[in-house]
Symmetry: C2
Subunit: 346 residues, 2 copies
């Protein structure tokens, strides 16, 4: 009457015995490898089902693949990431690959490095790095070790594929929208990047540059007004406070991210200003937040699912042929106008 202890795991050997074949054959069936007859294949599959066998990924990883792809996501709170993940997991659902997520810190480079290292140590067959803040050399080192796709505009590296959204266009969409509503004093809140080596690569810098360019193209070079804080709710709050102290207040604020826009809304509310009556506010990312009734934020939609699906496609290709040239896919965002923006001076 002992408790049945930790039941020993069913192994490939058990399956081989049960099916009266060699372990090699079982292995081949598992991997749909070339060189097994239909009859054998079926026999083995029956044994697998009968015994409830499941391949042990760690053991597979010692020789071949782990059938696992690691996804590093820097900030689990950012509501833009789930969409990417959905696209990713859906695209991988029909494959043998399993997605595991690594929680990177928020804008925390050491934390990111820990996660990528941990994933390499755990034999990931491929990795997707979502909006990493790590330096380019680090990314390339990772990519040289394991097939890698970076989501976000991280330059035309030959070591990894990238999927990104055209943030220059996105910024132009916002500015165009606001100009169309009659706004001229349109301010922008950006995320300040301290590390100059990667400055030009980051979405925030690109959005800010897109804002500048669009303002110039609309003949509003004089009105360019950028506040540098951070892509957080607090950053938005503090940025808005700065803007409200201006002698000439902006009539519209383009926040570099939805979460920033929320902070802006908070500051405006506190100052007794109404949106969009007194000031129009636009965000970026079209997160689920933006769609909420009481917020109803005009934003830029990055088509996260599509980004994720594209990343999955690229990664599978790269796993199949690690040596192939790098692909850099750029998707176009769309503007989603909501109630937080309205005609100027209204």
């Amino acid at each position: 009457m002992e408790p049945p202890a930790q039941a020993r795991r069913v192994t490939i050997v058990d399956v081989a015995q049960h099916a009266q074949v060699s372990t090699t054959t079982v292995s081949k069936v598992l991997r749909n490898a070339y060189g097994t007859s239909a009859a054998t294949r079926e026999k083995v599959q029956r044994s697998i089902a009968a015994l409830g066998y499941r391949p042990y990924a760690a053991a597979r990883g010692m020789r071949g693949r782990t059938y696992t792809v690691g996804v590093m996501l820097p900030d689990i709170r950012n509501p833009f990431f789930p969409d990417i993940l959905d696209g990713l997991t859906e695209a991988l659902r029909e494959t043998d690959y399993q997605v595991l997520l690594g929680p990177g810190g928020c804008n925390d480079e050491p934390a990111e490095a820990r996660v990528t290292e941990a994933m390499i140590d755990r034999g990931m067959d491929g990795m997707v790095l979502i909006a990493p803040v790590s330096s380019r050399p680090h990314l390339e080192r990772v990519a040289r070790t394991v097939p890698t796709v970076v989501v976000g505009p991280h330059g035309n590296s030959a070591a990894y594929d990238t999927v990104s959204d055209d943030d220059t266009l996105g910024a132009a969409l916002v500015v165009g929208h606001l100009v169309g509503l009659g706004h001229r004093r349109i301010a922008h809140i950006e995320h300040a990047e301290s590390d100059p080596t990667r400055l030009a690569d980051m979405p925030n810098a690109i959005r800010a540059e897109g804002y500048r360019r669009a303002m110039r193209e609309h003949g509003l070079a004089e009105e360019i007004d950028i506040v540098s804080t951070t892509y957080t709710q607090e950053g938005g709050y503090l940025g808005a406070r700065q803007l409200l102290e201006r002698a000439r207040r902006p009539t519209a604020v383009f926040a570099g991210a939805d979460i920033v826009a929320l902070g802006v809304l908070e500051a405006l509310d506190e100052a007794g200003l109404s949106v969009p009556g007194d000031i129009s506010v636009a965000g970026y990312d079209n997160t689920s937040l933006a769609a909420l009734r009481p917020i109803s934020l005009t934003s830029v939609d990055q088509a996260g699912r599509q980004i994720g699906a594209e990343a999955a496609r690229l990664l599978l290709g790269r796993i199949a042929d690690p040596g192939r040239g790098a692909a850099h896919v750029r998707l176009s965002p769309t503007l989603v106008a909501r109630r937080s923006t309205a005609a100027a001076g209204g």
Copy 2:
């Protein structure tokens, strides 16, 4: 001038050679195992650093541990989970364990099973299942295979530890708060559970029962009014629409989750009703959403970080001693009153 190909991974053998010791010794140093002199230990550590050696988790997993704990989270969009994760990762930061997340579907039992299986296959040393919807037998099967902690009120199983919040108390806090504000017609929106086998275990059922009990205790048994939808924004929206059609409209709505409350707010807004002027609304979970100015939702705080930290503590204990008795920790929630609730009839 060949490209340096995939540089071979540095192994324990390389370290042993470099340090002029056996692989056993290196292995011992890695695991801080008993039986190495300080001098040897230091020598080995220098070699490890010099060669940039990192243990290969898959290989470790074949014999001992992978130093990986798997966290299954059912719905990455639920803003309550990041807090739990924070508590969890922080508690594990100083250990050798790495956290990897498995994306379960939303209320999708097969998806959950896939993730737990995948984690077992990948040799996780322990697992934390956050608010699983899987059946009790499945959970016990998992727990029998690998040390497991379940976050959520999933009964007093002897096979796994649980950390949960006292939802009965939480519901009572909300009802008490509303009654204190003079409300009597207090309705509740719950998540309908179809599977009867786990009905009593789920938080939604407990919250609903807590609501019922609290109403009775306040002498409001007659006013008990429960709408069954789902714990989603849409569920809240639809639930509120039903409530608005009542002959005697409730003056307060207790939504079983913040996300549900958002749907309620949307429906009320659409109906031209003001909050809290016409109707008070309370949620549950005190997610970051609730704190947002334009929402400012009264809610119940579950102390997610604390839950996560507790789960980590229990899991480490269970990994160290898988046979030890199951612990069931219950934490007390607190009420966070915000602007979405106010005196009745005001």
